[in-house]
Symmetry: D3
Subunit: 242 residues, 6 copies
């Protein structure tokens, strides 16, 4: 681990992480999160009430949509709105973000309120889904405070049971590596996204052998690295929300 | 004109205008433009070559797509990608931006290159289409310079024959007013968008009676106001590109 | 202006305009309008009641859809239904027709009734949108009479506050010209559609520099021509409805 | 059969049939056909060349699309373009028209040329598909003549091997009836569309028990009626094309 | 008729027909039907209640959807879900199956219950629509029994007024032939699908001249063959349901 | 682990697994796989050649599509073809199957050939994606043999570098459990799908906390169980292919 990565990081080091909390004047909660050059605008829209099929159960709902601007990436992609359909990758990530956030929300404590999270990638350099989850948590926390301040959530209710953060890990030339930038991501033999709570419990573990299949020892090494990474992100979230 | 507008402006005053040129690390040209609280990310993607049906004519192509993030506005809108179709308003504005930019590009001088402009509204407070055109011009200018620096455009070629800027004007309670914010826009009896070149010639004039129809004298008064506004925007563009 | 146009008209002359009122046995109001070889079938469908989101406000609604038969034009276009989406031009024109008609309807006087205007271009030779608006007004007027005769509109109510007509104007080889036929339209440097009321007030002014940008003096000259044109169309509508 | 039908016809009588040949100035062949109040605009668009997958086989192609204007019927239907998809009924009829016309075209004699038939129902009163087929034949014949006159079809080639016409028949209150108007169609126990050539041979026979199933004798009686009807339509087509 | 068909059948012989009743553990009624190598999985889903627009009329509803697995056929077809739209052929067959089944159901006796029939072709070798109808009847009969057993249908009600079966017939080299396999179907000059009730009455007769048009005598000969075929299928259905 | 599961299994026991190899007469490789009551028809379609963008690289391509029949499940779902779009879950699973199979294929050894895998769930009782992957491997192996037998793959080439199988594991009431049936799946706190090669290496690990987040020890316990399960499935695949 003596040799540094292209951007000068050690293998177990995160990229610089920033949160511009309250970026949007319109949304109840918002955060422009950066993981290095990856920038995602996360907004949390709070609505009193729930979809008709959930009415009367005394529970709320949290959902998420992810999208990438056409020129967030190095070469321009066609807009999904123009193509008239959402691609598989977009669907997959939207669902992942929604599940991850719901894992730390007590729907009873939220009450019959709906929060829609939008994560729009303005600039992409690897790790857009993990940045999105990590930033969306900050936007979500602010939207919940807004809901409390506006009396839609009971004063004593504790809708957030934990915090949530996510990071990517991978194996490159046999070495475990944290928070892959795009040029690292395309070289990785194995690529994993880990979503974990502030208490250090797993919510999602999604590992894929892009090159060679991986063994149990390799899996263990990147899981270790991931939990160390999400612990740091948890601290950064706390600082941002302080 | 002694009474000031809600945000303290006089009737013939623009909102603060800023251009963050080169906002995107990925695009050949880019600009985050603000007209007050309206913020639009404009990227210009330069590709060598033209669509097949244009090949061999020695001419280039410039096109544009406009979109709004779901929570750019005060209440969240559904994503067009999720609905599976582009709405009429989006289509209309995309076409307007494309026509406006093409009006100042010499396609022969551009050569067989394509520029796709993306204008994504990150935050909306009225005048998103006029901000988009005005900012897109800056992104376009940088993308053309990139094309020249990378030898895709001949050194002597002058693809930009003029600059282009746009502003909204309206009549509120009988008074002509420049650069309407959202709360003004909804109250306007007449609403007009004017696109003009740096030399002060019209490229587009789109006026609509939202409330009462307007007469020739009223039309004249807002056309005057609009040309004064685009002249100021032209200066701001020059400063940004200096 | 001594030289005549291809079809023998002077620059300030409309093409022959005809209205076949009541063309359709099915619709509450209908009109097959011709501006020269441009033929548009306009139907106005009257329904008692309004969309759910408007119920209980004591106001009505008027909306419009425009479409072109695939072989209305010189070469066949694919059907939008087959492509599975409405194009930007169609959207734009449908919205324009709807706004234009609503400008002369008092929604309170209409009461909770809905009128859907369909403008289907059977044959196109330039000016389809202006013919559509001009003919749709006749269909609308008849549908409103039907609504009154059938007691859906109060006897004393005056839902039509004015009449509405539209015409295209342009600048060709520097000369202002009224009501462009297709071969003229493709040659025009500037192309403008003007929608005006019977009283001579503007409802829409949409000018586009197709070739060179235009100056204020040129704009003034075509606005004059347009108002003269809509005044003649207003007379023709009156005669048709007499 | 002494009692007459609502519109005064005997059971074995067609409605008045008219063909306005050459209705469209744009299409190579066209015909506005009426079967009573059912009016269908049929255009035949002739293009030199065939789709890529057919190139080089020395054979042509004929295809058809059917559509109904939204207010062709007594109550307005939503446009398929707006809904974003073609309905089953439209698909079914488009395919039927295409097959029917291809049955009388010698594709070798047509050569590598494509004819697209568009049948747009302007007003509907039952029998729109049979009127469409019968009128489309006239438009097709004219488009083929255009192709010959323009040297795309060899002088000696005989692309039309027969003529084609179609009629609906049904059983109402036990009585076989020819060419059903809409009010008859909804009452029919059995409804059949028959497409036959000028020589009296069947191309399509599509019978459906809308009410009670039908027996062999009933089937025979309506087949007789249908062949008598198509024979009359064949004469009317000959007269129109003379 | 002395020469046998490719698979050893005489011209008036059906392929081996089997019904695997109750194939699905999930559906209220189900049947895997085979006509030779054509295999269709038919499920009947019983739901208490009807669509909103039918509520309160005391009548039920039966509808059907047909689809083919992408590799049911000799070469793979694209999935309609992937293409984002249902093809014309699929629409046509779904509608045919629905109409055929409704012809033998007394909707009053069914009561306010809905049955959705799904016919998914697992393997195709000609006659998929006729196998689908014939098998769907068995699934429908079981779903109706399930509805009765579960008290959604009154004990005395007789929702099935007859049975229904379907078979294809054709003319190959001038000879009438029953139940065409795929290789026969592509060679047939005329192709007809006949749907008939257990009592021998017609519900649908759909004949198409794929090659040469056919005359009345040929039509008669294949109608005879078809009724003989559906009579045998009716017996096989009875045996399966015994 | 003394208490047995609802279906009588121990916690570390698979459901009965069967492979009906060669189920389809049409596909180059096929397999109807069952994991208990979950039944998936897997076909592998072999085509000589690759998509245009891959031509000339000497490499092949393997892709997969997953779908569920509408009544595979306990209550009927709408068809994605009817809805006009593929859902997120379907997209996600199709991509997972494709990646999993590609992990064991040497694309150079496959040569410029394409294999499309279709996995259609005929009956669902939990674990449809793991059954699909496990069965698809058998279909793939047969399609590759077909390619070799038909000389599209070189005799010495070894396109399959390993075998691949998948299984679900979960934690229910704190206990790790193998191969969840549907009723178990809905109760699981944690749900994981593991795809592993015949050599016991991981290709995909996808774990989700459906209820409470899970800790590292729990993760380890289900990974152990999963590898034991895929080892048994590997044996079953070998037996089926013997």
């Amino acid at each position: 681990m003596t040799e540094l990565r292209l951007d000068g990081r050690t293998n177990d080091q995160l990229r610089p992480v920033t949160f511009e909390r309250g970026w949007s004047k319109q949304a109840e909660g918002s955060c422009l999160v950066s993981f290095g050059d990856t920038k995602v605008l996360c907004t949390a829209s709070f609505t009193n009430g729930v979809p008709r099929w959930m009415t009367g159960k005394g529970k709320g709902w949290v959902t998420a949509e992810y999208s990438m601007l056409p020129r967030a990436t190095n070469s321009r992609s066609d807009r999904e709105a123009v193509k008239g359909k959402i691609g598989g990758r977009t669907h997959e990530i939207s669902r992942l973000i929604g599940r991850s956030l719901r894992a730390v929300v007590d729907m009873k404590a939220l009450g019959e309120n709906t929060i829609v999270i939008d994560c729009d990638v303005l600039q992409a350099d690897g790790g857009t889904r993990t940045a999105a989850i990590t930033g969306a948590y900050v936007a979500l926390a602010d939207a919940l405070e807004w809901g409390r301040a506006n009396k839609f959530i009971a004063q004593k209710a504790v809708p957030l049971v934990d915090s949530i953060a996510a990071v990517s890990v991978g194996i490159i030339d046999g070495a475990p590596m944290l928070d892959l930038a795009y040029t690292e991501d395309v070289r990785a033999e194995t690529d994993m996204n880990v979503v974990a709570t502030g208490r250090g419990l797993f919510v999602e573990v999604q590992g894929t052998a892009e090159g060679a299949p991986f063994d149990r020892r390799e899996l263990d090494s990147i899981l270790d690295l991931a939990l160390a990474g999400t612990a740091q992100l948890t601290e950064a979230q706390k600082a941002a929300l302080a």
